[in-house]
Symmetry: C2
Subunit: 249 residues, 2 copies
DNA sequence: CTAGGTTGTTCTCATCACGAGAACAACTGG
DNA sequence: CCAGTTGTTCTCGTGATGAGAACAACCTAG
């Protein structure tokens, strides 16, 4: 029997019924605080609970499914640049039996970094979704609290060795904007002088636009210079966060 | 309708048929070279091709499925310590439509680091599996070549900031044994003196057994001291490999 | 047994990266 | 105009790194 014959007679129903979903940990920064996109569940199970946005995978790649879910819940339309500027990467998969009481569900979780976005309530499709400060999240449906925790860990680590902090800010930004991203994600303010030196000395992290912001911040100070994201995909040497002995062992 | 009533009337068949598999990138070091465990496929599709060991997920966690597949293909029995000493972590998931010509298959890939293991051919169950040097792998079935490449990338990175090199060696090892692991995985020999200083200076990487090896290496030299794995889970500061400008951008 | 080569281990030294602190000018709102 | 804030650039001490070398312990070849 050749491969063609084999495939024609193949019966997919012989395999155990498993559903595959994507769930998205979408992070953004508003007012200097890290927020995550959450939806309120309408139906059972966990009706009324908050959950990560997600849904079943259709005839599409996993990446495409994640971006589609993100678009649906944020109200962003593809093709206008804002959705495309969101950084999206696969986080990991969760498939413990019993994590969904309905049936065996394997969820492929994604992690998204977005610049500050309008409140999703405006769009009708995205009603029920909202940006919640990560330190006010509380309990979530399914195992989504664990997924969120993993996403936050990954986000904190990614800022160390990649230039992805630029995914949280507008295309033109100041060094202080970047520093605010690190402060929000890491939960501690980096030393301003050392941070400045570091960002400018790592090759490809940022490049100067030559321009200066029209105005300084609300509370004074000189008008800061503007930068764009550089072409580096990894930071060398990395921008390590202040060490915490406890996390090492 | 309460949640109980909802669940009792729930019909899993309404969801699209997707199969979930695990595939394992199992790495070990033999004769100073990095090897990966591969199986020869018996049936269609890709009959006769080599592939990563893997199979459908049963009523078990994803981690358990990966360890089961690993046990089946290596011939190791659970409970004797050898299988339990293998480091196993989730790599990422692969789910492009069409990656398996039979049906939609989402594969959760795992990465395993094993100390040198006996050839799997001995056990009858594991016939068809073999350890292949990673630079002699050639083409693989499905998208397994891409999965293997991702696994190798992850392995190379993990040696930088975790003490997982110890998972490739026996419980008692010499600094030179560790250095051979780095040489095999990274493809370049670290500076012996600096490597020695670094391994001993990073807290929790290794701890001394106080003992000395009974014999020196085949080609002479003093009898090296023996060490055990320490209790660190991360290396601080990391043991960075020599930089490659090209990979950064 | 000896000789020559190999290897484990410990130094030295120059360079680089980092944390902490400070200086200073440009700018804000009141 | 004033007082406070902030962007940017320094300095200085410390720790980590890469390169090279020294040296003794040990192997195999002869």
């Amino acid at each position: 029997m050749d491969e063609r014959t084999f495939l024609d007679g193949y019966d997919p129903a012989q395999f155990p019924a498993v559903a595959v979903t994507v769930d998205v940990v979408a992070l953004t920064i508003r007012d200097g605080r890290l927020h995550v996109l959450l939806v309120e569940r309408g139906g059972h199970p966990f009706a009324g609970w908050r959950a990560l946005p997600g849904g079943f995978v259709r005839d599409e790649t996993l990446d495409a499914a994640a971006r589609r879910e993100l678009a649906e819940e944020t109200g962003l339309r593809p093709g206008q640049g804002r959705l495309e500027r969101v950084h999206l990467e696969q986080l990991r998969s969760y498939g413990d039996p019993g994590r969904d009481p309905r049936m065996r569900v394997v969820s492929v979780a994604y992690l998204a970094f977005a610049p500050s976005l309008p409140d999703p309530r405006a769009g009708s499709d995205a009603a029920g979704a909202s940006w919640v400060p990560v330190d006010e999240v509380g309990e979530l449906a399914f195992d989504h609290a664990a997924i969120l925790a993993d996403g936050l860990d990954r986000a904190r680590a990614k800022l160390e060795y990649t230039p992805l902090a630029t995914a949280f800010v507008e295309p033109e930004f100041t060094i202080a904007d970047l520093r605010a991203v690190y402060a929000a994600v890491w939960g501690e303010e980096p030393h301003a002088g050392n941070f400045h030196r570091k960002v400018l000395s790592v090759p490809g992290f940022v490049e100067s636009t030559g321009a200066t912001a029209a105005r300084a911040g609300e509370r004074g100070g000189p008008r800061p210079r503007l930068y764009r994201a550089g072409d580096a995909r990894l930071l060398h040497p990395a921008l390590l966060r202040p060490e915490r002995e406890d996390h090492i062992r």
